[in-house]
Symmetry: C2
DNA sequence: CTCATTTAGTTTTATATCAAACTATTTATC
DNA sequence: GATAAATAGTTTGATATAAAACTAAATGAG
């Protein structure tokens, strides 16, 4: 029975992480987006131009969800959308200047969150955790 | 950067677990409820009578969410609600006969899911995983 | 070249979810 | 006992989310 607790723990940790991130973003004056929007912005910080399909894969959300998420980010002025010249079906998403300004805040929030996440967790434990989780992930 | 992948892995694993459970339930003819409803039913299988507040804590969902979830289960005939005699604010939730009939299916789906989840994961690894996750959970 | 199939993204629909506000009840304080 | 504060659960409003259906465009097959 205790083994079932791992799944419960996973859910709870994920929630705590999300709450932490939202709380920190709010502290930094960003309260108009959720964690999924943040994931998109974060992805675009790493790769300046992504298609909707890229984003969908990156953040592991359904295409239709990405449409709504990105449209909100467009409305808020954080990203722009642009059709590809060669293939009219493809839409590229990129950060605006306003979006790019979030970079330092995102990096610090991310770092803070990881500090809390891994507090008292040794390097060996990190690797062990990652290894086991990968194993589990590949079981499905 | 790879350390950030743990959080991504956690999210993905949770999703895979949910999909697996829903898929198995559907195979067994249960396609009218989601995983959160399942969590409530499961909790009631272990403890025959719970208050809404108990359930909210058990499944880690907001009270208002529990109201909606339980109301759907009532509509579907899986549970009943009953006001406490002593304290008129308190509502008890219990499985109906129909709800109780799900027990064997739930147990087998749960067992199957855990089999898949822990395939190739040793007993030692299980304990290690649990230990590290608890540590992380308590960091927030 | 024509038609069938696939693909990228959007639209539509339904639902789970949270949080604030609310109602009714109980408990605490004076 | 009267009033304030706290509590249990519900209602309300907003939103993220998935999946089906759809549109337009590209690719594949004959």
């Amino acid at each position: 029975m205790e083994t079932r607790d791992v799944i419960s723990l996973i859910s709870k940790i994920r929630e705590k992480v999300n709450r932490f991130i939202l709380s920190e973003l709010t502290k930094n004056g960003i309260d108009d987006i959720g964690t999924s929007h943040g994931d998109i912005i974060y992805a675009l910080m790493k790769t300046p131009k992504l298609t909707m399909a890229d984003i969908s894969k990156r953040i592991n959300k359904d295409k239709s969800t990405v449409t709504a998420l990105v449209d909100k980010l467009v409305r808020l002025g954080y990203v722009t959308k642009e059709r590809d010249k060669e293939d009219a079906r493809v839409v590229y998403v990129a950060l605006t200047d306003k979006g790019s300004e979030l970079e330092s805040i995102f990096e610090s929030v991310s770092a803070e969150m990881l500090d809390v996440f891994y507090l008292n967790v040794s390097e060996q434990e990190k690797q062990e955790l990652l290894r086991i989780l990968k194993k589990i992930y590949n079981n499905f």
